[in-house]
């Protein structure tokens, strides 16, 4: 059951990510990314992170991707033009990404026994468990994010404002 769910949603993730890469129109890429994010939410649930699964759907697929699609519509972005990108990106980028993937996969699979197996329904992290750590041990980082959000508001307003 768990394995079947994992294979379905992991497959959706990879398919969505590849589609993001292959699609030429930004709106298609954005929609594929939403598929990736929503499938990831299911995987989070399988790993017992119920709060994050909800947050993933609400914050990522809901807020962030809506902002993306909104900007794509606002700027009326068309199909990607086939210009010659930096050659270096192709020459160094593809082998680099492939090497990174190979290395990480090798490490993860060779340590597979040490990582153990995940069973459904064990180690569920409830919102209460999270908030006990978040609002006590990590109170300061939590408060500090308010500065971050203030900067983001300030910056978005300052940059996107039209000159008069």
């Amino acid at each position: 059951m768990h394995l079947a769910l994992f294979i379905i949603f992991a497959g959706l993730c990879v398919a969505g990510a590849l589609n993001l890469l292959l699609q030429r129109h930004p709106i298609n890429s954005a929609l594929s990314l939403i598929v990736v994010m929503s499938s990831l939410a299911v995987l989070y649930l399988l790993l017992g992170a119920e709060f994050l699964a909800a947050a993933q759907v609400i914050v990522y697929s809901g807020a962030i991707m809506v902002l993306f699609t909104f900007v794509i519509m606002l700027l009326n972005a068309g199909k990607e033009e086939r210009t010659h990108g930096s050659k270096l990106a192709y020459i160094a980028g593809f082998p680099g990404a492939a090497a990174l993937l190979g290395l990480l996969t090798y490490i993860f699979l060779s340590h597979s026994a040490a990582f153990g197996h995940a069973r459904l329904g064990e180690y569920l992290a409830t919102t209460g468990d999270l908030s006990r750590v978040l609002f006590r041990d990590l109170l300061l980082p939590f408060e500090v994010t308010s500065v971050l959000i203030l900067i983001a508001i300030l910056g978005a307003v300052a940059l996107a404002r039209r000159e008069h």
């Binding site: 993001l20 994050l52 010659h84």
Partner: protein, 106 residues
């Protein structure tokens, strides 16, 4: 029962696709989306490792999950700023192609 390593391999796959997309895509908005994909891959790795440590120590460990929570907050802030920058660039240059944003040569 699924080995946690599978989740980690999936996160590596997504991260690498994100890196490749960052380098290949020519539309600024899509390039930014590939960064979001990379961040999502990081989040999956954090949750998988968090689960692994819960099992290793025998009681629930939520530190990795909290990290994901903060990555989401930061990603939202980054998206607001990044899209504002993209709008500013579009107004100044009227293009979204990375290769045409080249007033300054590397």
């Amino acid at each position: 029962m699924v080995p946690i390593a599978y989740y980690l391999v999936l996160s590596a796959v997504l991260f690498s696709i994100g890196v490749a997309a960052f380098l290949i895509k020519r539309n600024i908005i899509t390039v930014f989306m590939s960064i979001e994909l990379m961040l999502n891959a990081v989040n999956l790795a954090f949750i998988a490792f968090s689960r692994q440590w819960s099992q290793t120590t025998g009681h629930l460990q939520v530190n990795g999950q909290i990290f994901v929570f903060f990555v989401m907050v930061v990603a939202a802030a980054e998206a607001a700023v990044g899209l504002a920058i993209i709008i500013a660039v579009f107004r100044a240059r009227n293009t979204l192609n990375v290769d045409q944003i080249d007033l300054m040569k590397l």
